[in-house]
Subunit: 413 residues, 4 copies
């Protein structure tokens, strides 16, 4: 297939996404009129696939200059081709030496963005650690992930944060849906399609029972898996128990698992200590927010050999002969990478609606906001939720005045 | 059956509850030694059934005087008999005129409690509105329900609150389990056992998609119901949509419903406007926190006739001939009333472990706490959660030092 | 409560059942006109509860004389009282010595029935073994359960069967619904209400993965149980595996189980060998078709002591101190007994519609049918299924002529 | 990617399949020793993907000559490349004119097979209608699908069948798993991955509630879809109702559906009459057994225009502007085609174990079997089921002698 053909397919995919993203369309119609972002440079570090592309085009249509760049593993080349045609700048180097990720991020920063839509805090960390010139133009950031929000909060706690940041991840219309249903569905369907296996008879160990872990557990058990959960928060542990799962310390659980999925958001969640106790043939996948959840370097260091056994699956043979199957190099966002279609369009329709409002707000008002990590205003949630319900032909009520009165009384049960 | 025989059965039921409430037992062992509550008078307004009874006995064993009293509908007489044998004072009048609820609550207050374990804020509201003498002895309150917490918050907002209150409901180990799985299971199984019906082919309308509504929807759809949800919060509405349900304004949804379950915590949630649009044969149940969610007086006022059609089911015939079946008089906590076994023991094991810690804290320290609504300290949650996991042979991990370090870094994904 | 009051309540319950049994009503309207059963004596051995009572009354309204009698455990006395008022003869002795079951069955046979509606083959076995005079009047039998059909087939295989028998159990509209959803729901809800426990964190061992076992497993896992299955048919074992359960030999599974539910239809399925390996506190329930699935005599013989711990629960203490909780004496049909409401009305609406057609057919044509076990004619299934769908406002299509033609071709894919 | 590279990937995929197909491996070990099929020519009409390839190689290793050929849409070219390397003859023409399907099937027949492993009866129908020379060498057939078995039965009913046929589809270890869980999982995951959509908020219309429809409904409702079912069998209709779905005539249901999945096995199930009533944007997929379930020719004839909107999705615009999205050309087995990974390996492990035994039996004994459609011997099911359980570390029991005795008694309940 030629690059030309690929870009044609990328166009089709973006158009398909658009036709199934009515919420983002309505937000764009109402809040992103032509030229509202005229002259604004927006930098995006997210997987380059049809839904991200759609959001970039909407910024573009509103007058912005948009640059995207990310880890090459997360770039759908057909979509990148289509984006380029529309004048979105795509940084998608895939160097022979190294994987191109660092180079891509740096070259994104070099465009001097006014607003960053960051994923896992990568662009922000890079700017704060090595590219102070970015802050000359940067007005604000909107951050997509649990992990990234945590990183920005640490920056702020250390007194280092230089710009205002929206914790877009923490918007209810983002994490309650994207993290739970989005990663739940895409984490599971990517596992199934990449391995061509089924789950009954298998034990799936889910590392972390936050929104992502809960979503995965729900869908995986509907597909017949028996679920093991590890947690560090005992209340979440009891939630997993109440949902019918078994909760064990990781060192114990790992010996029973046929599949391990990390969803903890914590670097160092799955170390050599755990890898070394896996069963022969175990499958290892990371859908969490940290690139470092699985200690892949340790796996490489201890393996006697390693080779591809299917697209996106590498088999590592340990010295005692046990084989470990690693999906997608253990990278973050593997499930939304080129290996799979990623989150459903309807999920990203919500997430990117929130992001569109956050990015717009930062473009217009970020310069006036002191450096801090800000919650997303609740009316953003409200707008997006109402639009979603309307698109589905559904609706909620308003409290009646009688109810408001009753709720403001203390003398009524 | 004689009262003597009934009390024997009540004893057995309490003992059975105790043998399945290992968390509360361990909390009592560790925190409620003999005499720690010597001289403390504790007043309880909760359904009098085996689990509440067990908690009362534990307070008693720790030296407290305990008085319980509530709406007669919520009193299992066999359990009340057993409690009385152990010296717990039970206020269980069931007057010919009126239902005895008000009288019971007043006579509870008249005992001059030091700590109140309140349900839906009933004792507190009564004390604040008409019994100021209570505050001469009262040190603090621990409140069980969402509705009650709201009422105490209103009292405080109005500058009227006279004592410190623990929002026990808002403890994670309470509402995440009791409201969701407890009411979910007991709300559903009480519906099934009282009506002897099944759910496939029926549309169940759930009014409110908070923790209670979510729990009900989960179990009811597992039993084959199609779920309609009404909400006033659009984000929760989208959650219901994402869970596979249909979300409609109440006025529209009500015409389609075979069963309506109110779970909103809001007085006036289901008014004559809605009742008047119900289908012939519709079933109406309240499992929410407010006695006034369903406007039962309006139903009575508009009905041409009314008669019992099964134990705990009254059929109201409207003037146009349509029949409405009301379960348990539309009262709060119907599902935990004498009509049914109530929440599972294992759920109340968690709730009452939290309550035991809250009541103990109020007995010892309430006098020093300014009037306010206090969150339950997170170490109460932690203690109860760890004990629960241990009882189930399960456990969580602690973060390693390496992980703690990593999480405190901003320069690691 | 007086017997008079009880019978009033029984009346209400039957009327409630009738108002939720539209299929049986339509079958009665179309096929059981007044006097069609004039002079016919019908004997019924089924639990005496509202739905059975309703069917009996419909036979009565069609002119039949009806006698019912069964194990006293399965008699709702309020319903029995109501039935008696309507002239149905109820054999409900509850002897001081013995449990009255045998006496009840004998006195049912002594009425000289023309048609027997048998449950588990009890009346038929008694007639064939000790009451040959029954065959002087008896025209035919309709048998309700898997176990009973097996017994009649054995009788026939041994050349002993003296009357025609409808395998009502094997009608698709019976076993696909009654056994699966009916026992599934009532087996589970009776367990929950009688024990007041919940299932998450527990392992439920289901002995037998036929329709009953499948139904139980589905509902129990929806309530959070982890399911262990034992089977003797390896294909059914793989079905259990594919449904996400663990399949083990009984001797191994039993040591892990918190609750054991027998659903095998096989006498001797759960013997002392298995009982002796149970965990302390294990709960034992029989919802299967054979009175002898659990070897209760062995349990009694080996127990150091035994006492009631809650209504319908006996605790047996083994010599080593382990305690076993037996529900409902381990009797068949415990879940539909006086301890619980039994199968949902909508399920029995289907079963008894099939039975009404079978009993009618035997009354009219049984005398002309040679002794054999007959399948229920498929048009009975068809009638009942279409009526059910119509009552639910649903419908199926007919094949078009084009489709019929296509399906009769071999040269079209 | 070069053909060489593609074949390398095909090899890896086959090897991966082998490592997850322990049942087929054990069947091969026990029943397909070297040379047992020496000189036998086996023709296979199944999608050419890794699992089929594995079975072909096992026949090859046992000495057979193997030829495969099918519709080009169902050919994974990487796998076909790998198969060719091993000496399996692959007929995979993809003619410019026409789709190559007919040519491929004819050239498969021209190899003069001794045994045919047929899919949907295509090779058999072609042989019986136009290639009588095939019967000079052909010993027997094993048929994979419900549709194919129906076609062979029609041939036999018309007195035309010339060879013995195993109804492999009807083996319990085939249809209970492959049709239900296999098509259920692959039908759903292919829909999700090809469209990148999610199901909550959508109504999925499933045409036919046989094993395939039941599997689809189970998984789709677990993913949040609301299910509409159409059927022609009223008992299956009531099963769908009992499973919580809505059952309507197709002409009514179709106007409500967002997605239609045909699973009826019936040609002409979804005609222009139905297509013409679809909503704008409806998605149409066929996972049933007949190439003709959806009347694609009518769709083409009535469409104003048609173009690809994503890989494997064509959008047809009707004259009134409504758009219909057809997946995979509406072809049979789309879900197992080149568009997706197909059924899980563990499912095909069971199916192809049955097929291996059937093909072997036909090779050795087919010549002695009169033309007829034969059920698969139950010991084939038994062998495969026991092997599956053993591979999963699970097992069933045998009935004890006491139980056998009890089950042969009629005088025990």
């Amino acid at each position: 297939m030629t690059a030309q053909d690929a870009a044609d397919i990328g166009e089709l995919k973006i158009k398909w996404a658009e036709s199934h993203a009515p919420v983002l369309s309505s937000i764009a119609r109402d809040h992103l009129p032509r030229d509202v972002l005229r002259g604004v440079r927006i930098a995006v570090d997210l997987p380059i696939e049809p839904k991200t592309a759609l959001m970039c085009l909407m910024f573009k249509r509103a007058g912005a200059e948009v640059v995207v760049g990310t880890d090459p593993l997360y770039i759908h080349t057909d979509v990148a081709g289509a984006l380029a045609r529309h004048g979105v700048i795509v940084k998608s180097l895939n160097h022979e030496s190294g994987d191109g990720r660092h180079e891509n991020l740096v070259s994104v920063l070099e465009t001097g963005p006014h607003v960053i839509l960051d994923g896992s805090g990568n662009l922000g960390a890079l700017a704060h650690s090595a590219h102070p010139e970015v802050f000359e133009t940067l007005r604000g950031v909107s951050e997509e992930t649990t992990t990234g929000v945590r990183r920005y909060r640490r920056l702020h706690a250390n007194g280092l944060l230089k710009i205002p940041v929206f914790a877009a991840n923490d918007a209810r219309m983002k994490h309650l849906f994207d993290n739970r249903y989005g990663t739940g569905q895409s984490g599971l369907t990517s596992l199934l399609s990449i391995t061509n296996l089924m789950l009954p008879g298998k034990r799936i160990l889910i590392v972390g029972y936050g929104w992502v872990g809960k979503g995965l557990a729900r869908f995986a058990s509907a597909f017949g898996a028996r679920i093991l959960v590890t947690e560090v928060d005992p209340v979440r542990g009891v939630e997993a128990l109440a949902d019918g799962h078994v909760v064990l310390p990781l060192a114990d659980a790992v010996t029973e698992a046929d599949v391990v999925i990390t969803a903890s958001g914590t670097p160092g969640a799955f170390t050599w200590e755990h890898i070394s106790r896996l069963k022969d043939g175990a499958i290892l996948e990371n859908v969490g927010g940290s690139e470092l959840e699985i200690d892949v370097s340790a796996l490489i260091a201890h393996a006697a050999k390693c080779h591809a056994v299917r697209p996106f699956i590498e088999e590592f043979t340990l010295r005692d002969g046990r084989r470990i199957n690693l999906l997608g190099g253990g990278k973050v966002a593997f499930n939304v990478s080129a290996a799979a279609e990623g989150h459903p369009i309807e999920i990203m329709d919500l997430t990117f609606s929130i992001q569109a409002l956050c990015v717009l707000h930062m473009a217009l008002h970020g310069a006036d906001m002191p450096p801090a990590v800000y919650p997303v205003p609740s009316d953003f949630d409200d707008k997006v939720a109402r639009a979603k319900l309307a698109c589905a032909g559904m609706a909620v009520d308003d409290l009646t005045q009688t109810q408001r009165d009753a709720l403001s009384e203390w003398d009524l049960a």
